[in-house]
Each structure stands twice: as C-alpha cells, then as structure tokens.
C-alpha cells in the first residue's frame, strides 16, 4: 500500500488539503482573538473546497490506475473485495492524512501563539470522515462513469453541485448533515451535539468502505453470499449513522454559556470568556465611556457578562448580556452598540408603534452613545435627516452631552425622542 501511496497523485493533493485547512483556519480568526473554535470554524468552512478537491483527485487516481488494477485483480489470489478496499485506502489515506497533519500543524501554531481552548475531537473526526467520504464519492463516480477522461471533473462538479442544490432546496437539516460538507460555526458559547457528529462518522465511514466493496462485488461474475452480506452490513452502517444524525435533526451545536469569566472594571464590571481576555481593557474603556455619557440612567448595569448573542440569553442577575464579535476597534464599538440596542430605547422602538422621526432620533442617539455610526450619519450630507443632529450631538462637550442625555433619558428609553428634541 505504501508503494501506491508513494506514487499516488493524492499525496500532493493531501498536502494541499492540509495547507488549505491551515490557511482557512487561520483566516477564520477574528481580529484580536485566537480561539480554537475559530480554527474549527475555518476548517469546517474549508470542507466544501477540500471535499471537491478530494472527490476530483480520487476519481483521477481511480481512472489512472483502473486498467492495470483490473487486469491484476482477475488473477489475484487475494479476495477482490480486499484488494479493491486496499486500493481505495491508498487513494484516500493521503487526503485524510494531509488534513490530520494540517490539524497538527494548526495545533503547533496555536500553542506557539497562545490559542485559547482545545478542539472538540468528534468534530475533527467528522471532518476527517467527510474528506474520506468525498474521496469515496469521487472514486465511485469514476467507476460509474466507466473511468473516462471526464470522470475526474465530473466527480468534482457533481460533488460541488450536489452541495449547492441541497442548500438551494432547503432540504431538511438532517439530510444536509448527511452530505460530507460540514459548514457549521463553532463558538465558545455552544454545547456540541456529539450525537450528530458520531452519526456522521458512522455514516461516512460506512459509505467509505461501501463504495469500493460495491465496485468489487459488481465486477464479479460469480457473487457469493458473503459479498451481499458485507454490502448489506455497510448499508446498515450508513442507515445507523443517518438515524443518529436524524435523532438531533443534524444539529451541530446548541447555545450554552459555560459561565467561565474573567472580569475587569468597576462601573460596569465587564466579564468575558477567558478566550476574549485580550479585549477586556478596551471593552472596559468603551463601556466606561458609555457609563459616563449615560450617568444617572438605567442604561448601564453594574456587571456585564459575555453571552451567546446578547439577545435572548440569560446572564446571572443582575448582570446584563454583552455580545462580542471581534476585538477590533469597530468590533468593540459594535459590542457597545448591541448592548445599547438591547437595553436602551431600541427595544421600545421595536415593541410599539412609533413614527419614522422617532426611529431616526433613536438611531442618532444610539450611534452617539456607542460610537458606532452604522447608518453613516457622520459622513452624510447635512441635508440628510439626522445628519446635522448627529454632528451637533457629537460636538457637545462631555458635561453638556451628559446633561442633555440626563434631561432626555426617559424619552429616549421609551422611543419618544424626535429629531426636534436633539441638540
């Protein structure tokens, strides 16, 4: 088998898959953050590309070696099924190995750069299974298309197109989870649904063995019961995996806050997951500024805890939620904006009838409070509604601004401000 591996095209592609995995995983890192969960997200999002590559190159390798292999299989004294499976293993193993080496490299990079957390191993297992299954897909397409010159591109295109079609059809989640492309997003604030991942591993690996076994059995002139029993067992394996996936409807993660916090600051005290520690000082500064702007109001809580989304979660009382996307300057401002939107006048604007003018005034104040000018008031022409008001508000000195907000805080919190109320 090592001879096959040594001369296989899949060795180079395995290396490419490993490199692509590392690069995309590193690319998935959010600014200021170095989390294993982001690496996993990157590796997962690479799977459509690595899977397509694996399908194409496996079909290529199957086609390239088809004739000499079949000629020797005719007179092999080893069981044809075993030889076929060994051949497929030599095609697919370098691809999976390339991925695993990529993960190991990522591990080393993570260690060297102080990455937070550790990978969830069943997730990695499912990703390895997905690459093998994509390889088996290509190997099978090559056999079905009779190992023609067009078999490799056909396998790659079919793999990619099948994935796109599954998404466009909005197929049920469990059926999409059966396809060997895993595009889920990992986070520090999730619990992993390992049943789905184990289901994928069982389904993928059964499929991986099923394909070469089917090719071998189909080529036999005289088929004994053992071949059928093996095929039936492997189909049952795919079925078992699919059932496990179906059990949790293909769900990969579910919201959960481990409640593991590091905290800094006094008013408010800002608490984040240890993986986000690097942004703590900047967050404390940003929320201190918000606290200053909104003094004597209920807008700021004494303690903020990082949560899944900032909305719809449950921080420990009397703390409030804090949602962080990344630790860039705009990311920090966005966190403040999300907080203001959740706990400021935004809720009132959404939950009852208000005029356009009131919505606009609320947006201007939120942009000023959070330093996050999402709607671009600062850059807009003064003739644009809200632009002049925003500029006047931001031009106020700290004392005047705090005084103005103190006088209008009740109107703001009830979404009752109009543009005319703004300075």
């Amino acid at each position: 088998m090592m001879t096959w591996v040594r001369h296989s095209t899949t060795g180079a592609i395995g290396a490419a898959i490993g490199i692509a995995g590392v690069l995309l995983a590193l690319h998935a890192r959010r600014e200021g953050l170095n989390l294993w969960t982001d690496y996993i997200t990157g590796l997962s999002q690479a799977s459509i590309y690595t899977g397509t590559l694996a399908a194409g190159v496996s079909a290529w390798e199957a086609r390239r070696t088809h004739k000499p292999l079949v000629a020797r299989l005719l007179v092999s004294s080893r069981p044809v099924v075993a030889v076929r499976v060994a051949h497929f293993a030599s095609v697919a193993a370098p691809l999976a190995l390339g991925f695993v080496i990529g993960v190991a490299l990522l591990w080393a990079i993570g260690l060297a750069t102080g990455v937070y957390g550790s990978p969830f191993i069943p997730w990695i297992g499912a990703l390895v299974g997905a690459i093998l299954a994509a390889s088996a897909f290509g190997y099978g397409v090559s056999a079905v298309s009779r190992n023609q010159w067009y078999s490799p591109p056909l396998a790659a295109i079919l793999f990619f197109a099948s994935y796109v079609i599954l998404q466009l059809l909005h197929a049920p989640n469990w059926s999409r989870a059966l396809f060997p492309v895993i595009m889920n997003v990992d986070s520090e604030f999730v619990a992993h649904v390992s049943t789905t991942m184990f289901g994928q591993i069982v389904a993928y690996l059964s499929f991986v063995i099923l394909v070469p076994v089917l090719i071998a059995v189909a080529a036999k002139r005289r088929r004994g019961p053992s071949g059928f029993i093996l095929v039936a067992t492997l189909i049952a394996g795919v079925g078992l995996g699919a059932s496990l996936i179906g059990l949790r409807n293909g769900q990969y993660v579910t919201g959960q806050n481990p409640g593991d916090f590091v905290c800094e600051g006094a008013r408010p005290q800002v608490c984040v997951n240890p993986g986000y520690r690097a942004g703590l000082a900047k967050l404390v500064t940003a929320f201190a500024e918000l606290s200053q702007k909104s003094s004597d109001s209920d807008l700021i809580a004494s303690r903020l805890e990082q949560q899944v989304e900032g909305i719809g979660d449950s921080p420990t009382r009397p703390a409030r939620s804090l949602y962080i996307e990344d630790l860039s300057e705009s990311g920090i401002a966005f966190s403040v904006a999300r907080y203001v939107d959740r706990y400021g006048g935004g809720i009132a604007c959404r939950t009852s009838e208000h005029t356009y003018d009131q919505h606009l005034a609320n947006a201007v104040v939120q942009a000023w409070l959070s330093n996050f000018d999402e709607l671009g008031f600062g850059g807009a022409s003064p003739m644009e509604p809200g632009a002049a008001e925003f500029r006047r508000l931001t031009a106020l000195g700290p004392v005047a601004a705090r005084s103005w907000f103190g006088n209008h805080v009740r109107q703001y919190m009830s979404c009752g401000l109009t543009l005319a109320d703004l300075p």
Binding site: H7, K67, P68, A71, L74, R78, R222, G224
Partner: protein, 253 residues
C-alpha cells in the same frame, strides 16, 4: 515458494468466449510440465483459451482441473491462482511504479508471504535480466524491458502453471532473444505460450497446439508439425507445417 511436484493442468468440456460469441465449445485438453506453444491465426481463440485457464471461474461451462481435481470457486480457485502466473496479451502497467514495485505488488496479490515479497520480486527480476534496472521508473524502460517486467510479474510467485499470451510480440530480435532466454529457464513448469512466431516454437516448445476457430487442429511436438510441411526442402519447415495444418480440413478434437 518451491515449485510444486509435476502436475497436469486440464480443461474439460469447456465452453468459453465473449458475450454472444462462444469460441470454444466442449474443449478438453491436458497440459504437462514443459513449454507448450499455442499457434493459430488471429481470432483463432488462443487468447480465449489462455484466459479460460487463467480465470477458471469465468468459464461459461466446463471446468479446469489440476492433477485431475476440479478448480471450483472459493478456496480452490484462490489456491490455483496463487500458483499460477499469467502474462496477458496487453500488459497494462502502473507507469509510476518501478519494476521492483510492479513485481512486489503482484507478489502481494499472489499471497507470497510478506517477509519474502522483496526477495521474490528481486529473484523474478534477476531471472529475466532486469535486476540492474529494478529501481528505474517503468516509463523509462524500453518495450522489451517492460515485457520482461511483465514476465517477472508472472514468475514472482514461482508458479506451477505459467500462461503467456503472445509474450514476444512487438520485441525486436535482440529483445526477443533475451526474452526467450528468460523463458527457456522456466521449462520445469507447465508453460502455455501463445505466439504467432514459429521461431519461438522452434526454440522453446516441447509441444505445439494449433488452434483455429475453436478447434485444436494439431497437438504434438514441433518436429511432428514440421513433418506436415508439404515441401521438406524448405528452411521454414515448421512454418510450412503450420500452414499445412491450418489449411487442412482434418483436425484433432
């Protein structure tokens, strides 16, 4: 693996061919130790007969017997295949392999014990005079060398039965001479070799089978075939004898 005791290889009441076209129907013959040449025009059924012996489980009807014992599916077929070497007419190569790797792979397929594979492959390559190029990429070898790699593949399991389908076709005279030299050393096995070349028969064979349209027209030693030549003065007596046989209507079944 030691060469087994002298055996007989028989095909009995065999019907074989391709899809709708059955070339041999009810064919029976027995082969013994030594080189048997299989002569016949194109489409006469030479390759079909060799393939039938190489893959007994693909016979439409009839059976292959080793020492009178029928090769049936399962264990006995695997045992038969483990002791059989086959060089097909069109040898397909793993071009990226070296000769050593090609031969080692076939050794593995033939269940040569793992510890003996390397030595068996080297011995097979030595016997066909390719030990010096055993680690060169196959694609760099000449046609004659590749053909000898194919022969080494068929020899690696030290088979009792060696089936060679036109092994010298496409070789230049020097390569053919080298190839014949390699093959001549294999005479202690049951060797069945199809060929178009009466030179091969003259130099190598102890027995000749002439087939045409699914019938065995001649079965005997080369000298006997040469005697069928109408003009005994010609220097190409064997070829003339062969021509006489295939143009005669009287055949041997």
């Amino acid at each position: 693996m030691a060469v087994h005791e002298p055996l007989t290889l028989s095909i009995k009441e065999a019907t074989t061919g391709y899809r709708q076209r059955q070339i041999f129907q009810g064919l029976s013959l027995t082969l013994r130790s030594g080189i048997t040449a299989l002569l016949g025009p194109n489409g006469a059924g030479k390759s079909t007969l060799i393939e039938a012996l190489a893959t007994p489980d693909r016979l439409s009807a009839g059976s292959v017997l080793v020492n009178g014992k029928r090769v049936e599916s399962g264990q006995s077929t695997q045992s038969y295949l483990a002791n059989m070497g086959y060089l097909p007419q069109r040898w397909e190569a793993f071009d990226r392999f070296t000769p050593q790797e090609c031969v080692e792979y076939v050794a593995w397929l033939k269940r040569v014990p793992k510890v003996a594979i390397r030595a068996a492959a080297s011995a097979a390559l030595q016997s066909v005079g390719l030990i010096d190029v055993k680690d060169d990429p196959l694609r760099r070898l000449s046609g004659g060398m590749r053909q000898r790699v194919a022969l080494a593949e068929s020899l690696v399991n030290n088979p009792t039965v060696l089936l060679l389908d036109e092994p010298t076709v496409g070789l230049d005279p020097e390569q053919r001479s080298l190839f014949r030299g390699s093959l001549a050393a294999q005479g202690n096995r049951i060797v069945l070799m199809s060929t178009h070349l009466t030179d091969d028969v003259q130099e190598l064979a102890q027995r000749v089978l002439v087939v045409q349209e699914g019938r065995v027209l001649f079965d005997g030693p080369p000298d006997e075939l040469a005697k069928r030549a109408p003009n005994t003065a010609t220097s190409l007596r064997l070829e003339a004898g062969y021509m006489a046989v295939i143009h005669s209507t009287a055949g041997v079944r």
